[in-house]
Every structure is written in C-alpha cells, then in structure tokens.
C-alpha cells in the first residue's frame, strides 16, 4: 500500500469513508507485516490525544458580550 503511514493516520483520525475503512482493516488483517508500522503510527496518534487545555474564564465571555453589544449598537445607529 502506497502512503501506508498517512492512510493509517487518516484511519485513526476517522477520516476514511466506511468503504475505505473496511478496505484498510482488511488490508491490515491480510498483511500482518504492516501491523508493527500501524502500531507505530497509533502510538504517536495516541500521544497527541493527551493534549489538553484548561477552561477559559468567565471574563472571556464577558468581553465577548461587551464586544458584540458595542457592534450591535453601532449597527443600530
């Protein structure tokens, strides 16, 4: 399979159609030698899922509401 690593990533990201997904799974089943390459991509992909961030504060909401209010007032004039 050409671009196997990229296809593995698309599979893990849920970016393949149902048909492509089935074809990819079948390919993996029939080509065990690709399994370790797939696991390598998977381990990197799982790593990325650990990326997180804190919750934004309420001040951000207040600032947005104020900005929108100003824009609406300006539009009404």
């Amino acid at each position: 399979m050409e671009n196997f690593e990229e296809e593995s990533m698309a599979y893990l990201a849920g970016g393949l159609s149902a048909t492509e997904e089935s074809a990819f799974e079948e390919f993996l089943r029939e080509n065990q030698d690709y399994q370790s390459r797939f696991e390598e991509v998977k381990s990197s992909w799982v790593l990325l899922s650990a990326l997180d961030s804190p919750e934004p504060s309420e001040a951000m909401d207040d600032g947005f509401i104020k900005m929108l209010d100003t824009a609406e007032r300006k539009q009404a004039k």
Binding site: P56, M60, E72
Partner: protein, 184 residues
C-alpha cells in the same frame, strides 16, 4: 436556531443578524482557546486572542464565502490573529516565545486529572514547544479542528494528501522529541 449549521449561522451574521455570532461563539470558544493555548500562549493571552477572532469575524464578515466551510475560515482567521499578535509582541521587544520554561504554567491547570496524565500533558506541551511554528500549528489544528484532513488542507491552502504527509512528519518528530524528554 440551535439546529442550524455553522455556515447557516455565519450567513445570518453576514446578512446583518450580528446577535447570531453569540451561538458561534458558544460552539467554538473552547476549541479556539485550546488552539491558542496549545500554540504556547498563556491562558490570559489565549482568551484575548479568542475575542480578537470573533471581532475580526464581525469586521470581515463579508469575506466569508456562503458556500465555504466555516471551520476552515474560522481557523484561517485564528492563524492570522496569532501571527499578528506575535509580530506585534516582537516589535515591542517583548517576546513570549514558546520555550520549555514558558510552558511550565501548564502545571497550574485545574487538578482533576491524575498526576501521571498531568505529567504526560506537560511533557507533551514541552515537546510541542520544540517543534517549528508550522509543525506545531499543524498538530494543534489537527487536534482542535476535529482531525479532518480536508478542512486542514483548506486552512493551509494545500492538498489533502500534502496535509496528511505534513501531519505525519510533524507527528513523528513530536514523538521523537517526547521520547527524548522522557529519558531526561
């Protein structure tokens, strides 16, 4: 109104119904905040940058193509906001350059997770900070844009195939840096 797509809502904003922007804000504020935060900005600056994105959406609402993809357009605006912010900061002689020391504020995150997960998360942010700006953006966009390569390609103005190749390269490098940091 809540069932309308992002595109339909943005068209309403474009037509003058500015209040509808509030729904788009609710849907995307956390995603955008995560985008800026994981690019290495501190929480307070990340919040300012999110606001700036919505300010620009209003200002440049006419540039939204009605048949376009809202997500790709929003993240193009976000990338420009981030770029302009760092350009201005460097002109003022004040650099918030992303480096290992600067990402330590991640340790102040709310402590709802296990220490182990928190350590991994910090290490990952440190690894991310060592990548080039382009690679860091690719990975963060990939994570916070819902991992759709077609949209990523639109944001970066490249083909979907090229987007997959670049993300794969960036991911490999991230893993390599992460493993090195783990050994230290």
């Amino acid at each position: 109104m809540n069932s309308l797509s992002d595109n339909a809502l943005m068209i309403k904003v474009k037509e003058g119904d500015l209040h509808t922007l509030g729904l788009l804000y609710e849907r995307h504020k956390k995603k955008l905040f995560g985008f800026f935060y994981n690019l290495g900005n501190n929480p307070s600056i990340s919040e300012d940058l999110v606001q700036n994105v919505f300010y620009r959406m209003l200002k440049y609402k006419d540039s939204f193509a009605s048949d376009g993809q809202f997500g790709a357009w929003m993240f193009r605006v976000a990338r420009n906001v981030n770029y302009d912010h760092h350009q201005k900061a460097s002109k003022r002689g004040f650099s918030e350059e992303k480096n290992i020391e600067n990402v330590n504020y991640a340790m102040e995150d709310p402590i709802n997770e296990t220490q182990n997960k928190k350590d991994n998360s910090l290490l990952l942010r440190k690894a991310l900070a060592q990548l080039s700006e382009e690679k860091r953006q690719l990975l963060v966009l990939c994570k916070f844009q819902g991992l759709k390569f077609s949209e990523l390609a639109q944001v970066l103005d490249i083909s979907e195939g090229a987007a997959k190749v670049r993300v794969h390269r960036a991911l490999k490098e991230l893993k390599s840096v992460f493993v090195q940091l783990e050994k230290q």
